[in-house]
């Protein structure tokens, strides 16, 4: 495979990877912000859903009480913006780094809750099943490698595209004779 073809495939994989990562963050944000059954989409109903998410955050018993509500009201919008940011592909190295850091924090929080024997819902995609190995595997062995791959890919492509190209008149191995 020529360098050009390899580079083209790399770019395609990077696009697929960042769209998948964006979909994860967008769906996580949507699940946390969507109105509860029987409620229309209004500012109030979104606030209610975020208050419900705050209950899930509180059950992790990791944040001081004053920080629970602000965190729960900021995280889903942040995930939403991060999803859109990844979709645009703009500043992918930074959005990739932010995604990786965020997923690392999620995995650490879940592992901590699991280790402490807390029988709580993950809350990752809205209310759901109890935290267990399945969630840790999903985030640790699927989402985290994906975020890492996108970040590393973004850095590699940036390095290659910013590397000084040889002048066309420069002698190459094939023209040595």
């Amino acid at each position: 495979m020529s360098n050009d073809a390899r580079r083209r495939w790399g770019r395609i994989l990077l696009i697929v990877g960042r769209i998948a990562l964006a979909a994860i963050f967008l769906s996580a944000a949507y699940a946390k912000m969507k109105p509860q059954p029987g409620m229309p989409w209004t500012h109030g109903s979104v606030h209610t859903s975020l208050s419900m998410f705050a209950m899930g955050v509180d059950s992790y018993q990791m944040l001081p009480p004053w920080a629970v509500s602000p965190f729960a009201h900021l995280l889903p919008p942040l995930e939403f913006l991060l999803g859109f940011w990844l979709l645009t592909g703009f500043g992918l190295r930074i959005s990739g780094l932010v995604s990786t850091a965020l997923i690392c924090a999620f995995v650490a929080a879940m592992y901590s809750a699991y280790e402490r024997g807390l029988t709580i819902s993950c809350g990752c995609f809205g209310p759901g099943a109890q935290i267990g190995p399945k969630d840790l595997i999903r985030d640790g062995l699927l989402f985290l490698p994906l975020a890492l791959a996108v970040t590393i890919g973004a850095f590699l492509i940036h390095r290659k595209s910013s590397a000084p190209s040889l002048p066309e008149s420069a002698p190459s191995a094939t023209h040595a004779d």
Binding site: P37, G38, H43, G44, P65, P77, S121
Partner: protein, 249 residues
């Protein structure tokens, strides 16, 4: 970020106003406990289903808590959150609190505690016995001395009535209760089975439908719409904030 979020909500509001999910999970909290809510204080009434509730069933918010009396997290939820909620949002008619039994097989005395509680609840002593069981959980969870704390929570005459409810209830853990005996109890047959087991099993059956995966698990119903179940401990300020948000809808 705030501006973008606001714009997103505005777009969603205009586009999705008609897409509110159908009330598929809409349920009336009409269960045995709910039906008998207004008889909570009538200890002299004929013994029916145990009343394990706080507040008025006409409150806009209903909170059902599935608990195991031997579970430390359940005690924490009761001591740190529900104890603050009861004189505040329950007393003011905003929240109707229902206790549901969900004794876990891992706890040696959890099932036995649930039996005593149901027996006490049948004579209108639920609230006193629930408080006594949680307050003394560390003690009876060591040696199974549940009876002592139940007795201390009521008058001797009341305790005699509770004891009569417990006739036929041998010591069994949740794991050792025989399905055949349960079936008999659920069928309402008088006989060798413990008369209060059927009430515990009714609660467990409700929990299995959710499904309850751990205790405490709480289910909140607002104006007939059942919200997704939550589990674990939630502090009162956070729960209160959620209730306020619901009530402002």
């Amino acid at each position: 970020m705030g501006v973008l979020l606001y714009l997103g909500i505005c777009v969603a509001t205009s586009a999705g106003a008609q897409t509110a999910p159908p009330a598929a999970h809409s349920t009336k909290p009409a269960t045995s406990a709910t039906t008998h809510a207004h008889t909570a204080t009538s200890a002299t009434a004929a013994l029916g289903s145990p009343v394990k509730t706080y507040g008025s069933s006409s409150a806009p918010i209903t909170m059902e808590v599935f608990s195991d009396y031997e579970c430390p997290s359940c005690r924490n939820l009761f001591e740190t959150t529900l104890r603050q909620m009861i004189p505040d949002y329950v007393a003011s008619g905003k929240v109707y609190l229902i206790h549901r039994d969900y004794p876990l097989p891992m706890h040696k005395y959890g099932y036995e505690a649930a039996r005593w509680l149901n027996a006490a609840a049948r004579i209108g002593q639920f609230q006193a016995v629930e408080a006594a069981l949680y307050d003394n959980q560390n003690a009876w969870a060591q040696d199974g001395s549940i009876e002592k704390y139940v007795a201390a929570a009521m008058s001797p005459a009341q305790f005699k009535r509770v004891q009569s409810q417990m006739r036929g209830c041998g010591f069994e853990t949740a794991a050792s209760v025989k399905p055949a005996a349960l079936a008999l109890a659920l069928g309402g047959q008088a006989g060798e089975t413990c008369s209060v087991d059927s009430f515990i099993e009714q609660d467990r059956a409700l929990g299995n439908k959710i499904p309850v995966q751990s205790t405490p698990t709480y289910v909140i119903t607002y104006k007939g719409n059942r919200l997704p179940a939550g589990s674990g401990i939630v502090s009162w300020p956070i729960l209160k904030q959620f209730f306020d948000s619901l009530l402002s809808q």
